[in-house]
Symmetry: C2
Subunit: 467 residues, 2 copies
Amino acid sequence: MYDMTIKLLGGDKHLYEQIYEHIRHEIWEGRLLAGERLPSTRSMADYLQVARSTVAYAYDQLLSEGYIESRPYKGYFVCPIEGMVDMAERAKDPAQEAAPRETVVQKPLYDFSPHGIDMSAFPFSVWKRITREILSEDHQELFARGEAQGDYRLRETICRYLHSSRGVNCTAEQIIVGAGNDYLLMLLEKILGRHVCVAMENPTYMRTRRIFHSFAYPVVTVPSDASGMIVSKLEETDARVAYVMPSHQYPLGTVMPIGRRTELLKWADGGADRYLIEDDYDSEFRYRGKPIPSLQASDDHGKVIYIGTFSKAIAPAIRVSYMVLPERLLEKYNNECYFYSCTVSRIDQRILDEFIREGYFERHLNKMRKIYRSKHDLVLRELEPFAESFRISGENGGLHVLLHARGAVKEAELIARAAAADVRVYGISASCTEAVPKLEGTVLLGFGAVSEDDIRKGIAQLKGAWL
Amino acid sequence: MYDMTIKLLGGDKHLYEQIYEHIRHEIWEGRLLAGERLPSTRSMADYLQVARSTVAYAYDQLLSEGYIESRPYKGYFVCPIEGMVDMAERAKDPAQEAAPRETVVQKPLYDFSPHGIDMSAFPFSVWKRITREILSEDHQELFARGEAQGDYRLRETICRYLHSSRGVNCTAEQIIVGAGNDYLLMLLEKILGRHVCVAMENPTYMRTRRIFHSFAYPVVTVPSDASGMIVSKLEETDARVAYVMPSHQYPLGTVMPIGRRTELLKWADGGADRYLIEDDYDSEFRYRGKPIPSLQASDDHGKVIYIGTFSKAIAPAIRVSYMVLPERLLEKYNNECYFYSCTVSRIDQRILDEFIREGYFERHLNKMRKIYRSKHDLVLRELEPFAESFRISGENGGLHVLLHARGAVKEAELIARAAAADVRVYGISASCTEAVPKLEGTVLLGFGAVSEDDIRKGIAQLKGAWL
């Protein structure tokens, strides 16, 4: 491991900038070589006596500029950069150490992030026009404080949308509008109370798991099969709440069949305090078969807390999510949490409301479905030559597919070989709380933000790297 | 008490609307008379088997339309409405009960809410122009997910503003931008941890107290004197954190002198885990003497958590607040809470940033200071004839003054007599956790949202009602 000695200065320059610049300089000067491991953010922070996030910022900057890469379970490594010597070479020819060459630094050319979304088709001009029109309305009201749960008008709109597109049965009174899922989960903590044991799958959406941890909620991992969380195993735990993504599990992309849904609902019926959190994060995108209704649609006993967001279907910057509370929890919210002000500005609520009411949201969704379906189909076509060496899963919905190596090759090697060919793919281990043997050679290939041209070229590169 | 029998129907009409309409109808029909008490929201909710908030919604609607009024510690009462019979009259002439007269319903003509702000001078056209310009920028970036703490550029801007106007010493790294104070307090709970005993004054800002309660934080009330929280009394408690408003205490309007500030800081120094939360909610408005610097400005040991908002100085709908964390808590945030996404949209952050950077915020503040100062001075002038019967306090800053009756008259009577003269004033008891004997005849007179003409007329009405 590289021994880091950075002289941090006071004054105007931020600490993270100093760390970033130091490491970049070391890479440029050839003192840090491709493949070399950097200290962990924690040990670096301890060593330099700075906050861990200061180091994380610096690493993020280096990551995003392609100087270093993150390898699951391993840490951060200096990237192989064109024109630069790597560790292996240095070992072969120690003389090179003294004479580093000029370097050209590049980001990975093809980034198949599962979190990227395509903003190219977003109707900016419509959004702008609606914004302009709304700002010309009666300002006094628009700039005043609004209802805690979100403006009633927007809640009615969301209610109608959820009913028609997701089969969700609710009234506007049950809906709480908030600035992002993280915030709504924080509010949910206040409603559910302390020490709620939550069941999650493995792999799962790690962001939510971290949030439950920060609530000091005990989180138990319940094994899954092809249908999702195994209810008999859930029964064996102390869980009061189970967090599931029935329409499109992240990261596996599986759809929970009706049988398993019924079992889960029955589990929830088994205790007055039991609930299911349904995170319906990207159910809008489904390319084969009938649309999958929400779990909430089958819930007759008020057991499902339904959470969804506009960040994925519209834009990440649109910080509007919604939570549908079952009656009993709504009552608790009304009695105990009614005073938390809404976190979304009324202007933004009005813009979104108009965007949906005027039909632009549906049109945008249809357009995006077409675009993503076309990318999805292209990915599957381009991956045909991989069939002998890889099994594909999680297709037919969402914005990524999974590739499972049929051989003994491991995730880290797949990622490293892809990186050497200028392609970034994502390991499933980042979503795992404990290793899943059958997923050891599995990577995620997201296509939301990748152009069709780049999908073709990127997968061609992968062919060279993997086959 | 009125015995409420409402047949609630299913179907399209919301429950709260049905309750609202029923009660309004009963008032119109003369079956509910002025001065009659309504059931509490809780008992009404129990009786009708609906959520308490459904009843609260209905009551709020009736309140805002002037049908009913809320009396501190007493409950909700039907308002005396012009042309309508009241209870006393009915007692005198029972025949009237059968023949209710046509009625005209009115809102209180003059509402001196301490929470109202004047939006008439807000530079809507500038806000619109900036919005338009920003929406014409590079959209991809603007609609993408931003930094968790808020965009660095905006944090730098806030940092400069806080330094120059409030003497706050911090870096942009210490600032967290969030959608409202409530949200920032929720985040602070995650940083401070569980079971933190918080000291508050009495009276205090009840909204924050409710929020601490919902964290299940034990809240202790520490007695105050004219300088604010008494530190020797604070020492006697188990409090780890003290919540104060040193620049302008709500609702008393007192300014904490430097001596008391130093004592408080010394108290905080007495324990590694002790902190002061400084809520600097409306320090922008100060009409006499030098500007009051923040408590954070005197903090050399990283003991002050500084919280402020743009809701008051710009508009309630601008859901942007900021929290300045001392180094040790920043480290905890960075290690344990860094994954909570920012709750303010990047577009809104950019608009606000431009608004401040282009100098409009300062110009707007100056304009508002002039407007509020003029209203403030007018209120004091118009209140001169009250001097014999009332003592005034909390003047020279903020958006309200306090009137203390010199005689034995109680708050509820002052409010009722004002209401009968079409004026709404606000009792201090709503901000009290336990009765404060010397504040028994105290009301708040807010002037932020009242026009100068209405200030003159409203206070003239009060003269008739109270003197």
